[in-house]
Symmetry: C2
Subunit: 553 residues, 2 copies
């Protein structure tokens, strides 16, 4: 039983906007070849690793007679990693371009992520099935998964599966790792003369797949708008009830783009940015003091309420915390865990910890709330390591701030009230109906991916740029993935990878935030974005992110 919501039914009717240059029909799209490319760093090493796919030319599409060789295309598509709004539209755009070129072309959707390709588990797409997913959220069209395509054995199986079905191109929709792997797979397919092209599409709500070629990854717009809706609603609640500080954790382990975008949208009193904490080598206590200063300043004006946005991965950016984690892992390594676990009470365990940690690490450990202290020692992964990802950083910081306020009250420097509520937003935004922006952008990425296939490119990323402008002015084309690569140390080995984009502390979005945050911290400048609108005046339904608007301003 499938019961469609009114919005889902209505969204089926939406026609995503293509870049102007792709609007003239397949037969009127030609290639404009640009400059040859170089990787952003480590050129010699990367060139050596990608002899068949390195140094290719950037290309853009333009209006003109299609000169590609006529050929039946059988294409495979894979959704890789965490869900991001718009993934369905990439598949739909790809499908539509492929079928518009030749109704006999076929699209295989490999199920459950990259493992679907290895296990030859697929569904062949048809109109009826595709139409059920147009402009909808989720990755349920074929499912997703986190298997990484990175070994020669896997590549050989992939080549075999492609050969079996006559598949001559694979589109991988994923984040930085998945696109890195797409480049390696493309090189393998070329080196082994398999005739299989590989094209990547930039996906991630985290916003950390971004560089001079990728203005933003898809899904970031919708996810941050969904979180901002909720944060704005909570701000309005805080400003109505005037009695709570809300600590709101948002997704983003490796970078704080989501937190920053939400802050630009909602103007909370506090937003922590991991990259700044790391650059300034801030201690937990120093971070808590930033919040406590806002609490105190507002309380002095009679406002015992506020909102603080905390990025999920914040503690991993605090140097002293990383040191503590490393020492704990060492303290309980191997057989020492059993001895620790045998201690009958927390008091005895605590004494053991106090004895085992360095003075510096113990100073950090001592200020943590007991619940988090226990979590660090009791909930460990199969390798015995601390599970940093389980740490509820929103509760950690509210507990630290509560201690700060109690100390300030004792010292006579704070005379207000501090009462906290906690929230975590992640799953709420990953599968929202894509905003018009993401619906358009994703459809364009998929459509464009097929044009790259048609013209025989491999190891390219589907690239759509000029995104802060109306879709008519967007620029569609392709960029060799190797251009975005550098060498990085991963698991003890030097690997060619797409560099993860962190929040740039001299970039315009962070600079804008810095210019305003003092005022936001002390006054009430909350902005209430409300729910994503898919209809209505263009100024409410055709918005891009504040991050992109500032970057391109």
């Amino acid at each position: 039983m499938m019961n469609l919501s009114p919005l889902q039914t209505a969204r089926y009717q939406y026609t995503p906007k293509l870049p102007g240059m792709l609007r003239n029909g397949i037969s009127e799209i030609c290639v404009k070849v640009g400059e040859p490319t170089q990787s952003v760093a480590d050129q010699e090493k990367i060139k050596a690793l990608f002899p068949n796919t390195y140094g290719k030319n950037e290309i853009t599409f333009q209006k003109g007679t299609n000169t590609s060789a006529p050929k039946k295309h059988i294409v495979g598509v894979i959704l890789s990693g965490g869900q991001a709004p718009g993934g369905h539209n990439v598949v739909c755009g790809l499908y539509d371009a492929l079928k518009a070129t030749n109704p006999e072309n076929e699209l295989y959707g490999f199920k459950g992520g990259p493992s679907g390709l290895l296990e030859d588990n697929y569904r062949i797409m048809d109109d009826e099935y595709i139409d059920m997913f147009r402009n909808t959220g989720g990755f349920d069209i074929i499912g997703s998964g986190r298997t990484k395509l990175e070994t020669e054995e896997q590549f050989a199986i992939a080549a075999e599966v492609c050969k079996k079905h006559g598949i001559t191109a694979i589109v991988i929709i994923g984040g930085d790792d998945s696109n890195t792997n797409a480049a390696v797979l493309a090189e393998y397919m070329a080196a082994h003369n398999t005739g299989v092209q590989v094209i990547g599409c930039p996906k991630t709500i985290d916003g950390d797949l971004k560089n001079e070629d990728i203005e933003c990854s898809f899904g970031f717009d919708t996810a941050t708008k969904t979180y901002s809706e909720l944060i704005g609603n909570i701000e309005r609640d805080a400003n109505s009830a005037k009695k709570y500080w809300h600590f709101i954790k948002v997704m983003g382990r490796s970078a704080s783009h989501v937190a920053l975008e939400c802050a630009l949208e909602t103007q909370p009193n506090i937003c922590l940015i991991g990259e700044e904490v790391a650059a300034k080598k801030m201690s937990l206590s120093a971070v808590a003091d930033v919040i406590a200063d806002s609490v105190a300043a507002r309380a002095a004006k009679g406002m015992n309420f506020g909102v603080a946005i905390i990025p999920e991965g914040i503690v991993e950016f605090v140097p002293e915390f990383s040191m503590l984690i490393a020492e704990i892992n060492e303290l309980l390594a191997g057989e020492k865990t059993a001895a620790f676990n045998a201690l009958p009470s927390w008091e005895e365990k605590y004494a053991f910890i106090e004895k085992g940690l360095s003075k510096e690490a113990m100073a950090v450990f001592a200020i943590l709330p007991q619940g988090i202290q226990q979590q660090l020692f009791l909930e460990r992964d199969p390798h015995g390591n601390v599970q940093v990802s389980l740490i509820e950083s929103e509760k950690l910081f509210s507990a630290l701030v509560a201690d700060k306020m109690a100390a300030r009250k004792a010292a006579g420097t704070f005379n207000g009230k501090f009462s906290a509520q906690h929230h975590f937003f992640g799953y709420e935004g990953r599968c929202a109906f894509p905003s018009n922006f993401d619906a358009d952008y994703c459809y364009s990425l998929g459509y464009n991916a097929f044009m790259l296939i048609q013209y025989g490119y491999t190891g390219y990323l589907s690239k759509v740029s000029n995104l802060s402008k109306p879709a008519e002015e967007w620029v569609a084309g392709g960029m060799p993935i190797t251009k975005m690569m550098n060498m990085e140390r991963r698991n003890g080995q030097d690997k060619p990878v797409i560099r993860k984009a962190l929040v740039e502390l001299d970039g315009k979005p962070f600079t804008y935030f810095c210019e305003h945050r003092q005022q936001w911290a002390e006054e009430t400048c909350f902005t209430y974005p409300g729910a994503i609108q898919y209809y209505g005046p263009a100024e409410v339904c055709d918005l891009t992110t504040r991050t992109l608007a500032l970057e391109k301003a």
Copy 2:
């Protein structure tokens, strides 16, 4: 610094729809007097308590010459209790009707809830200020508060404040308690010949202020649509990743209307309804088994994922749990707490508990996860009582289900995986921009409240009905609040109160749910409502709740 979002700017332009009979201008609204009323129960007692306001006639408005006496009106308005979307529009509708009648009329907004009236803390409304709040969420226009207006001393102060400003009518916007208090205040004002009228407006996102006169309280529509947006997004995530069971707690302590409405909107695998649990005297274990059966049935089909909606107050509906709480309160009453706290370890505390509880209570206690066991004994309110409201019922049930699945696996009746995620939605929905329904309904309630004032009524509730139809067909009028009252035992005294509406187990919404839930539990029938739309086709932006649609079907 006030930075308006694009949606907020756009929503200022929205013109709320009035009931047809109120659309002809103030001068063309006349009263149609209906039947005299009786309270729903305990007529003699309630009549005796409300000699001046009992038994009045129901009234409706209709098109016709306005026959009210010309008089300058100075009106006070109060927002009482928790935020609900649309509160601002009640104030705006009241203001517009008042100013349309006579530009010299004045509206005093008492700040921070009922305490604003007692403390004579107010803001006089003007166009510029009112225009900043049209069609927006929150109660920040004047703030809200939880002070109860219920004592003679308070009433005397209220009368004094009204006299000082020449206020001749008070509008109280609140839930069942606040409207009960409005009736008592109205009686006081009448009995003391103060010349002050009192009118109530039905507010609460919980949906439990509902009866044969009130089809729904305002805010319920927007709040449940916001929660349903999030639940739908999580369902889509679950159906994409296919690896988690999501336990989602929603607001609603005394009744499960919110959970039920969200279930009707999103078709999750499980939705617990407190009223059913109470009626069937279900044990915690029996409730957990309902969920475990769904987990097992779905796992057997290869679906190791699902979504369960848990009403906030669910444990209070479980009879054996209430017994346990009562015993714990007894066990630690008075000085026994100190002795308990002095026990050095949890093991010793546990032994103390085991000795003190009855065998039946201990059986319940024993199956609780340790975190909740400790919470019950360690986190207690100032009176030493267990803080049931702090119990994270979503985590409680997922822990109980995890135990069930482990037992079934050991018994060979379950061969799947069970991994849980937890969410709680409350603050996210209380201050959302009101849906078109709530914007229209609330504006109408406020406008209508002024018509009741103009015609001299007191102790009435502003009543707008026929809500499942287009606004043109809505019926505006007033109902004596005493009509909705019965006598109930509160804090050891018999009190006249508006009865709280629980989910009716023979009502159409619950019946519909029952007819479908087995299928929803075993298959994947998720429905994805998406974000509230304020623009677009009527079928996406002018929706009422499923509950109301079913009740009026």
